[in-house]
């Protein structure tokens, strides 16, 4: 077994020969190193891409902080080595190790992967292989670590089902502690690996895929899932925290440049806008906010701990944060004198008010980024983002008037209802925005259009919708490239083949696991990196597995199709998603649900949590009634859908009557 001392000695010779060796050393300010031999449970948190990206991941920082607060637990980090380092490690027989203590990953008790997006899947397999941990869960023994994964992609984890022992569905802050507790209790009584999995399956928000079996129709569509053990939950309801816990502030300060070198403070979780393509907006409900004071306090602490030059006030739609102007003013007043710059990404055109722009003055930004997504009324109604061109132009004018020269606009192409006229409208709109800029700041004005391609995501009202074909996407991109030209205009786009892979995996079923495995075996990794992604290799993997990618990407799904991810419940009712899909076909929009509740399903499922945590931090209406006595599971809250008796309808009725 390789020891940390051996690993240190071996990497000493390798590091001078690889790119950016600072990725592989650890030792940064605020990393937590505990006495290995004194700690009961060791957790390795892995972001399956390079350090530079992983260190900017807030989820990882949150879990690192929470786990290391426990005296009986240590949490350390590991990332995917870049290809040069991987080759050198394999040649020298160095297993994947943690940055903190250089212990090989297979000596940890729990390995937790962060899975925010699908193009990391092959990197997970590669990391397990490099760590010397069996890739298939069924091949792991009692001495192997427990392998878990969480993150946005795990709301449909089926293509990864045989590789991960347990998936966390939803928010990790509380459930990670329960997983550790369950692990410790199991280890104390020296149970079998199967027993551990059975125990984990009892936790709210934990999905143990091996305890279920998937069934398919003759035509290849999904039929249903059956439980193999009685106590496994079906559906598996996502985990949420009723109130956002205090944010972490003791962030690790990297010694080398990373994607975002800043203090990340999540000001709000979730979004009330209901854009139909938006996975994050559907799976992160309900909206919960932190208070202005809580955010300021966190910045104060984080600044003292890190010395970062910038703070990012993060959420899915920051300008929708209830007290956004007050927040920005408070942060500026308190910290601007100390040289801290404020970044407020994800601004919504409707709520980027003149007041907010004024408050952001002095935040030293070079411009603004806005996401109209579509440029015609028709497309805006389909995707439910009804912001008029006039509104965008007015906002752009106000931005340029304040001396900013650069505006970045995000658009999306690829919805099947889209025509070339809709694509042309994107070009025209960008040019119109640029004209506003020219009139105000002159020839220095620029507009950058980031045009991504629509990927229908599970759990959204577009989960039924087919993707554009490669030819259609190429034609639309060619049109944009041809017409989005001229001084001050810049165009960015995605690789259509990568979009196809993401689309296939997003709405994939368990059969895709074989494709993922074969692709990795043939050398697929870093699929999110243009220079590494090889679509031909994936097509070969599909063929070897006897599957057609078009079945997953381009097939129109009938309304009554049962989806292979339906057992993972976001708490949004299928009825709500179906209706929203039908509304999109009819060009009917919904307003912001802070103004009108559309009964998406969140409140009935989490009514008890809402009742326990009243107040304006939740954007869903309050549940006031105390008349209904909801049974609890051993004193612990369990979401309604998991219980034997469904009382959700009754509760909702009570809420509406306004007791």
């Amino acid at each position: 077994m390789t020891t940390p001392a051996e690993i240190r000695e071996k990497i000493e010779r390798i590091l001078p020969t690889v790119q950016k060796p600072g990725r592989y050393t650890g030792g940064e300010l605020n990393q937590v190193v505990k006495d290995w031999d004194q700690i009961e449970t060791k957790v390795a948190l892995v972001f399956p891409d390079i350090y530079d990206l992983g260190m900017s991941n807030l989820g990882l920082a949150i879990l690192y902080d929470l786990l290391n607060q426990r005296e009986d637990v240590l949490a350390e980090r590991a990332f995917s080595p870049w290809t040069d380092m991987e080759a050198a490690m394999r040649a020298a027989g160095i297993p994947l190790y943690s940055l903190e203590t250089k212990y090989p990953l297979h000596q940890f008790d729990i390995i937790g992967f962060s899975l925010p997006y699908e193009t990391l899947y092959t990197n997970v397999l590669n990391a397990l292989d490099l760590a010397g941990i069996p890739i298939y869960a069924t091949e792991r023994e009692e001495t192997d670590p427990l392998v878990i994964a969480g993150g946005h992609a795990t709301f449909n984890p089926e293509p990864m089902y045989p590789f991960i022992d347990a998936f966390v569905i939803g928010e990790g802050e509380e459930v990670i502690q329960e997983i550790v507790d369950t692990y410790q209790a199991w280890k104390a009584r020296q149970g079998s690996r199967t027993e551990l999995l059975h125990e984990l399956a009892k936790l709210w928000g934990v999905y143990v895929p091996l305890l279920y079996e998937a069934h398919y129709h003759a035509d290849g569509t999904f039929s249903h899932l059956t439980k193999l053990v009685e106590h496994a939950h079906l559906p598996i309801v996502k985990r949420i925290v009723p109130r956002l816990p205090p944010p972490p502030t003791k962030f690790i300060v990297p010694y080398i440049d990373t994607v975002h070198s800043r203090i990340p403070i999540e000001i709000m979780r979730g979004c009330t806008r209901g854009c139909r393509f938006c996975h994050a907006g559907m799976i992160n409900r309900p909206v919960r906010e932190r208070t202005v004071e809580e955010v300021c306090q966190a910045i104060e602490e984080a600044l003292a701990h890190t010395g970062f030059e910038e703070v990012g006030l993060l959420s899915l739609s920051s300008s929708d944060y209830t007290h956004v102007v007050e927040l920005v003013k408070a942060v500026s007043e308190r910290f601007a004198g100390r040289g801290l710059s404020i970044s407020l990404p994800s601004l919504r055109i409707e709520s980027l008010s003149v007041d907010l722009m004024d408050a952001l003055e002095g935040s030293r930004r070079s411009g603004f980024t806005l996401a109209p997504e579509a440029a015609t009324e028709k497309m805006r109604e389909i995707i439910n983002k009804p912001v008029s061109s006039q509104q965008l132009l007015d906002t752009a004018r106000e931005i340029y008037k304040r001396g900013y020269q650069h505006i970045k606009l995000y658009f999306m192409i690829g919805h099947p209802s889209e025509t070339m006229e809709d694509v042309d409208a994107i070009v025209q709109l960008c040019k119109a925005v640029l004209r506003e800029g020219r009139q105000i700041v002159g020839r220095r004005a620029t507009v950058t259009a980031g045009v991504s391609t629509f990927v229908p995501k599970p759990h959204t009202p577009f989960q039924w919708v087919p993707c554009d074909t490669l030819d259609q996407i190429y034609a639309k991109q060619a049109y944009l490239k041809k017409h989005m030209r001229g001084k001050g205009l810049k165009l960015n786009w995605n690789n259509p083949e990568e979009t196809m892979l993401e689309a296939a995996l997003s709405r994939g079923d368990r059969r895709l696991a074989e494709v993922v495995y074969r692709a990795w075996e043939m050398g697929a990794k870093f699929d999110a990196w243009y220079e590494h992604f090889d679509y031909g290799l994936w097509l070969a993997a599909f063929e070897q597995a006897g599957l057609d990618p078009a079945f997953y990407t381009h097939r129109p799904r009938p309304l009554d199709e049962v989806f292979p991810w339906e057992h993972l419940s976001t708490s949004l009712k299928k009825k709500f998603l179906t209706e929203d899909y039908l509304w999109s076909l009819a060009g009917r929009t919904r307003i912001d649900c802070r103004n009108q509740c559309f009964a998406c399903g969140i409140l009935p499922v989490f009514s008890q949590l809402r009742r326990q945590t009243p107040g304006e931090h939740w954007q869903c209406p309050e549940v006031k009634s105390r008349r209904v006595n909801v049974t609890t599971n051993g004193g612990k809250f369990m979401p309604v859908a998991v219980k034997e008796k469904r009382v959700d309808v009754k509760l909702e009725a009570v809420r509406v009557s306004g007791d």
Partner: protein, 211 residues
């Protein structure tokens, strides 16, 4: 107030490049809560200068930086605050106040001294040293640029082995803008693979001319 700091860059920060060392130092000063002076204008930069870049992978216990403060702070208080805020890879050695009018730090550096530890034994080390020193010129190429290394080598000698019995070299190389010798180049010119050598800067030599 202009303050000159001398600090060590230790093992933990070996692979932090020049720009990132600068950033790390800046963040240390922010954490220390010091009234750092900034350049004027849109791109507000801290008034902080480093004497001479240290190549990636090198350690040092003689790095020098100049820092400007908005208000004077007693030196003892400065020392305590910076020491408390330093990350594991940086160690403040000492600091002093220097006159505001002194020339830019980078222009005051003359040469650097390095200690090179050989991870693998080179039996004919002395001979290689003599051969290098005897050469009139050492034409080398670095990043597509041809230059003569020989005049940049001001001194080169063997020093006593370290406690693990590894051979060591001590060298003094010129360190002026456009005329900087690199110890890995010297080692390579001696026919030794720099990957098997640990480099450590032991001293920076400054010009006495302060005008």
């Amino acid at each position: 107030m202009r303050v000159r700091m001398r600090f060590a860059k230790t093992e933990t920060m070996r692979y932090t490049g020049h720009l990132d060392v600068y950033r790390t130092l800046h963040r240390t000063l922010i954490r220390a809560g010091l009234p750092i002076a900034h350049s004027q204008g849109y791109a507000r930069r801290p008034k902080l200068n480093l004497a001479a870049p240290l190549p990636l992978g090198f350690t040092s216990d003689w790095e020098v930086a100049d820092l400007w403060l908005e208000q004077p702070v007693p030196l003892e208080q400065l020392t305590t605050a910076i020491q408390a805020a330093s990350p594991p890879g940086l160690r403040l050695l000492d600091l002093e106040e220097v006159p505001l009018h002194w020339p830019k730090l980078t222009r005051q550096v003359l040469s650097s001294e390095y200690i090179c530890t050989l991870l693998e034994r080179v039996p004919d080390l002395e001979q290689r040293i003599d051969t290098l020193l005897a050469a009139d010129s050492l034409p080398r190429e670095r990043r597509g640029k041809r230059y003569d290394l020989r005049p940049l080598v001001l001194a080169l000698q063997r020093m006593g082995d370290d406690e693990q019995g590894r051979q060591r070299l001590r060298m003094t190389l010129q360190s002026q803008e456009g005329k900087t010798g690199r110890p890995d180049e010297v080692v390579a010119a001696m026919g030794i693979d720099p990957v098997g050598v640990r480099f450590h800067r032991s001293q920076l030599n400054f010009s006495d001319d302060k005008e």
